[in-house]
């Protein structure tokens, strides 16, 4: 048995790491996972860099930012697979909720066009929205959504708020809305502070959210351990995407050693059965978070390019070279090498046009065919990693 230390931030989407250890997927590969609970995203990055943990649960745009030099000087890090898609929830405070309802918005928790248009009408002054980290899918989702719903760049501010402090920030009026992963959106609702407006998947059907990140030197010099870890987590993700397992998963990850929260609260984010308002209204969002289905764990290089282009433009870096650099850190080669033996479906290419699939589609794979998840944006946006950068 080899022991690997894995850092995770206590969120619902840490489930693949916890399930890999608790249900024996790690043991099957000869691994014992020592799961280290972390308090901050920057801590995951720094501990991984210092070698204090072997792998980390990390926001997908973080290794991109690190590759672009927008972080401390640490050893090179690579994302070897996605751990989850989706799971982000956009939440408005009670005051905004009241104004939105007053204008007839139905809080259907589904339609990004209707919710965006209503929010644009309801907003007074500069809208302040809390996100968990400057480099997060949350930040990119909100920017994309608001800019396509009539908000100019100076009509809103994104403010970094640590998720455990999000509800307090809403209560004190520091932010009027938040975009956050579960269970923190539900916590804000249960405290009577907010209503859920939209799941992240209503803006972008398959937004990659968390990735498994390793130091490049260790990933390459310890291929057996890297492969064993990837396969254990991949199988945990497959188990998690059986809808019948989500309730059990909630009980496991809610335990005191992990999220230490009531299972009922944790279950909402995993099953997509959300209580969206203080009044107790329920809404279903079946695909709120996906761990495995439709090739969800494949780390498309084109997604590295998509985040890199946006981050580069926001920080005054050359986008083309940023995209090229970031793509080298999404290790589709390691994914193919280590998950092929486990029977993972492998797409023929490692980059593609993003946002092209309005519905799930069967495509040719390395062997036979595979189903790829729908990945459309609400506004029909598409991204070509090879195309010239717009607006330059």
């Amino acid at each position: 048995m080899t022991t690997l230390r894995l850092g995770y931030v206590p969120l619902v989407d840490a489930a693949p790491l916890i399930v890999a250890q608790e249900l024996g997927f790690a043991a099957e590969e000869g691994l014992r996972l020592d799961l280290v609970r972390l308090g901050a995203w920057a801590q995951a990055r720094d501990m991984l860099g210092a070698g204090a943990i072997d792998a980390a649960h990390m926001l997908v745009p973080m290794p991109v930012a690190q590759a672009l030099g927008l972080g401390p000087s640490l050893p090179t890090m690579d994302l070897v697979m996605f751990l989850s898609h989706g799971g982000q929830v956009i939440v408005v405070n009670r005051d905004l909720e009241k104004r939105l309802r007053g204008m007839g918005h139905d809080f259907a928790f589904a339609d990004a066009v209707a919710a965006g248009a209503a929010l644009h009408r309801a907003a007074t002054g500069r809208l302040r929205i809390g996100v968990p980290f400057p480099f997060s899918t949350h930040a990119e989702l909100v920017r994309h959504w608001l800019s396509r719903c009539g908000f100019g760049a100076d009509a809103f501010d994104l403010v970094t708020v640590p998720p455990p402090l999000m509800a307090d920030a809403l209560a004190r009026g520091e932010v009027e809305a938040i975009c956050v992963g579960e269970p923190w959106a539900s916590v804000a609702v249960d405290r009577g502070l907010a209503a859920l407006l939209l799941p992240g998947t209503a803006i972008w059907a398959a937004p990659p959210e968390k990735g498994l990140v390793l130091r490049r030197d260790l990933a390459e010099t310890r291929p057996n351990q890297t492969g064993a870890l990837m396969r254990a987590i991949w199988r945990a993700g497959r188990w998690l995407d059986d809808a019948d397992h989500r309730g059990t998963a909630a009980e496991i990850i809610a335990r005191p050693g992990y999220l230490d929260l009531p299972p009922e609260l944790v279950e909402r984010g995993l099953t997509g059965r959300m209580t969206i308002s203080a009044g107790g209204e329920l809404r279903g969002s079946g695909d709120l978070v996906t761990f495995h289905r439709g090739g969800a764990s494949f780390p498309w290089k084109s997604l590295a390019a998509l985040f890199a282009q946006r981050i580069a433009l926001a920080h005054g870096l050359d986008p083309r070279s940023a995209m090229d650099r970031a793509m080298a850190h999404f290790r589709t080669d390691l994914y193919r090498q280590h998950l092929r033996p486990a029977g993972a479906p492998l797409p023929g290419a490692s980059q593609r046009l993003e946002g092209m699939l309005a519905a799930d589609r069967t495509v040719a794979a390395e062997r036979g065919s595979m189903i790829l998840r729908a990945d459309g944006f609400f506004d029909g946006f598409t991204f070509d990693p090879m195309a010239p950068v717009p607006g330059r």
Binding site: G39, A40, S73, P134, T160, P162
Partner: protein, 195 residues
Amino acid sequence: MSKRLLILVVEPDPDRAQPIADGLQQAGGHEVHIIAEQSGLARQVADLRPDLVLIDMANPSRDVLEELALASGPTERPVAMFVDRSDEDLTRRAIEAGISAYVVDGLRPERIKPILDAAITRFHIFQQMRAELAATRAALEERKIIDRAKAVLMKARGLDEEAAYGLLRKTAMDQGKRLGDVAQQLVMAAGLLGR
């Protein structure tokens, strides 16, 4: 004589923050300011314009400082920058001690090093204290379990306290297990059997 630096320590626990602040003052006579209240941290840091911010690596509010470090544009006075990039050993030691430092742009490495060294020492002392406290608690917990196991044996086998303890010890030695583990198993089994 170089000017005194303004150092911020972001730490909600006063028992922890004060020794760190004292240590930093002794190390170089710098002005040290403690921020305990995490709300509005970005605004507090921006108002105070510190030269250096120290924070527990696991403090969720670190991610707020990350944003500040990025937000400082070329024209404004940078609020904070990531810890000096040139000294990898110092960075690694700070991470191992569980401390993060955000340093104003342009502050010379030879000025940062003694401050960080002092902070790392204090963080280590605190971590040690915390580990010792945890060990003491665990020992207390174990003694309670052993007392309960003794009580189970005394009742079930009609032994006196000394004999019950002797039996527990002998069982542990025979099985090559820790006394606390044997006691724990016994108490759990007794619970299952409704004794």
